[in-house]
Each structure stands twice: as C-alpha cells, then as structure tokens.
Subunit: 223 residues, 2 copies
DNA sequence: ACCTGAACACCGTTCAAGT
DNA sequence: ACCTGAACACCGTTCAAGT
C-alpha cells in the first residue's frame, strides 16, 4: 500500500522509513527486502545508503537518541538528570518495537554523545566527580533503559494469565502482593525507582556532604 | 563435530543443547536447523519437544533463572536483595549471548517466580509493603538487568574507537571524564548503582523510619 | 509417540550488469 | 553514482508419510 515509485533514497529517508515500518508492524517486519518494498526499491539499493542490516540498526539508534530532549538550560542539575531518565523512557514508549531492537546499543556518534555530556555536566555540578560521575551516569541509564525494556516486554505478573494462578497461589509474598503486581501503574513505578536512585546517589561520597545527615554506605564498593 | 547420532530428545536436552550452542557460537547460531544438527536430528524433530522458536527462548529463560541462587536462609533482608541483583548479573555474564536473547522476558513459571517471592519477602521484612514493595522489586530488576545488558553490549565509550576521538574532544564533560569512561571497572560501577538504589529505597515512606535522619522525598510519585 | 523429507514462503548479502 | 536481477546459502514452520 505504501510503496512509492522511484523514490530518491537518502540515508535519512531510509532510516525514517525503517522507523516507520517498525513502529507500524513490529521488529520482525524490518528486513532489507521489506524495507525496499516500502521505499519502492529493490532490497539491494539500500546498500548504497547503509552498509548492511547492522548499520541500519545503528542508524535507527541515532534517530531515536536524536528525539531525546534533555535541555539543560537554567534547570537544577538534579532535574536535568530526571528529564534525561524520563526522556529515555518517553522515546522508548513512543517507539516500543524499535527500542526493543536497539535500546541497549552503546552510543558513539557526536550527536548521540551530546546528552551524555549534558548528564555528566549535571553530575559534576552536583559535586560528583571522577569515576563516580561515570558510575552514576551508568546507573541512571541502566535503570531507565532496563525499566523501559521491561515495560515494553511486559512486567512479570502484570497480565494475570490463567495458567499462572496455581504458581501465584503457592508463593506467599507473590500471592499477598498480587493485586499490586497486576495493577498497571508504570509511571509511579518508574518515578519510585528514579527517586530512589537519585536519593541514593546523593549520598555518594563527595566534597560537600549532603545536608540531611551523616554519609551512609551508599557508594562503598564493598563485595 | 558435536553431532551425536540417534540422540533421545527431551525438552530438557533440547534446552541444554540450545544454551550450549548459544554460549559457544552466539545468539545468531540458534536456529532450529542448526540446533537439530547439534543434536544429530532433523530440525523438525525439535517441534516434538518445544512448540517453536518462541517456546525455545522461553525455555532458555527458565533454565537461566534456574541458575539464580538467592538463598534467603538466615541472611539480612538487604543482603538477600544484594544477592538477587548480583545473581542476575552473574547469570548474565555466565551466558552473555543467551542473556542478550532472553534477559528481558517476563517470568511466569512457578520455578521462575520463586526468586521473585524471596525478594518480595525480604522487602516486606524491611517494612516495605504494598505497591512500594512491587515498585522496589521492579526498580531492582530493571537496574540489574539493564546494567547487565549494557555491560554485555558494551558501555558507551568503554572501548575508545579512533573515529570517536573528535566527538569526545568536542564535548567538555565527556572529554574531562574520558579516562574514567574508558577504564573498565564494571564491578565497581554495578555496586555503586546497587548501593545507591538500596540506600534510596531505604528512604521510601514506611512504618519504621530509618535511623539515619528525617524522611527524604525518595519515593513520592511526583511528576 | 517420535522422527523425517519435501515443500513453502521467506531471509541478508555478493556480484556482474545495466543506466 | 545509483539501481537491479539472479544467485548463494540460509531461515521457521507445515504437512503427509514413515516407523
């Protein structure tokens, strides 16, 4: 239905068509042949604009990171961190099938590293420096991307299936909390973890101790 | 080389062969045909023991969760939470290619829900009840699985590529922290985030306030 | 009950050929 | 410079046939 005739291809147009296709029909629909069809072109033509399927996925990742809007201007550093984490989840939920495909790829291009720089800057503004700034950044992205991927895949016990009933009944704590496991409140869940992580990072050892009390064992690398 | 003749197939033996194959040759090697070869059998025979490729992946997930050892006996509740999170990462690093494939699948079988029950029990023992116990559980798994997947895929800027040099130089905070971004210290990074998350959850509103000080805004679901 | 060969409708990628 | 058809070496799954 959407095959256009004689389209002038571009790396950009290929990536946009790929994202639209995945959004519309899921990750499984993204094949070189199918994407060619979508653009009114033979699969092999795509190789003039992307090196192969892997590079196509890299490009998809770039496009999605490009939709991230962190915007550090004039905000409290901790709010930048919040916006970053929420932004990752927003992009993921806007393109769930695409995020499934590329959400965990490491970033490497200049444009993709821009938000990373913003976040690292906010952490330094909070007095978190050196390895701990990097650890805090990794913790924040790990949480945000992990949560978004779990949300897309479906949280454990979120949808109460018939065949899970006996298993649930046999497990006391799962059974006791079943209503809460099945209640769909992903926003509240995400904010809970985000608040916890930010509060915890706040207790990490740094130059000026937090006002709340004595430093806790938040960031000792024990084990 | 490893094709055995006339193997007696079992759901179990199929899953074990699948895990071994993925461990040895990567996620891409897991095809029904290739797995059949591995077991000295035609691909179609596998369908007598698993419903299809999807069910095969479900089974792989079960096997991996089965390797989790949380062991709640006689430990401090918070140490159970730590063991759970570290256990997820350990399993992921023991089977990186398989974890890539199934690490984000929701759990549903009785056996897979056992560690979930243990973790929820530990949270309740800490006085964290109701929706917050569920949120804390989700935060912990989101972080642990997200971190492990990012570690497997490769952290951003972890391996300093030539073509990233200009991008790094142009971004002040990335440039300043480049040595720490490139230093490979995943254990310390994981423990940092885990400690932060646990410290933050510790400040979530609950019956008995933590000894350290006044309750912080750790778990208000603002936004 | 379990295994099989042949078949169907697909894949990504290479390459020589066209314009 | 960009697009193409044919070809290669694959996929998952169905189905009728074997034992």
């Amino acid at each position: 239905m959407s095959t256009r005739r004689h389209a002038r291809l571009t790396r950009r147009s290929v990536l946009e068509a790929a994202l639209a296709l995945v959004d519309r029909e899921g990750a499984g629909a993204l094949t070189m042949r199918r994407l060619g069809d979508e653009l009114g072109v033979a699969a092999m033509s795509l190789y003039n604009h992307v090196a192969g399927r892997g590079a196509l996925l890299d490009g998809l990742s770039e496009v999605m990171v490009g939709e991230l809007d962190v915007g550090a201007d004039g905000q409290e550093p901790v709010d930048v961190l919040r916006r970053f984490a929420r932004g990752i989840r927003s992009v993921a939920l806007a393109h769930p099938h695409a995020f499934e495909l590329v959400g965990m790829r490491p970033l490497s291009t200049r444009a993709s590293l821009e938000p990373v720089d913003t976040v690292l800057g906010s952490l330094r503004a909070l007095g978190i420096e050196g390895p701990q700034a990097v650890y805090a950044y990794r913790a924040l992205t790990s949480y945000a991307r992990g949560f978004a991927l779990a949300e897309i895949a479906g949280f454990t016990l979120e949808s109460a299936a018939e065949d899970e009933a006996e298993a649930v009944a046999a497990l006391p704590h799962v059974a006791a909390l079943a209503p809460h496991l099945q209640r769909r409140s992903p926003d509240a869940a995400f904010e809970f973890g985000l608040d916890a992580l930010l509060a915890g990072v706040d207790f990490a050892p740094r130059k000026d101790q937090p006002p709340g009390g004595p430093p806790r064992k938040a960031a000792e690398t024990s084990r």
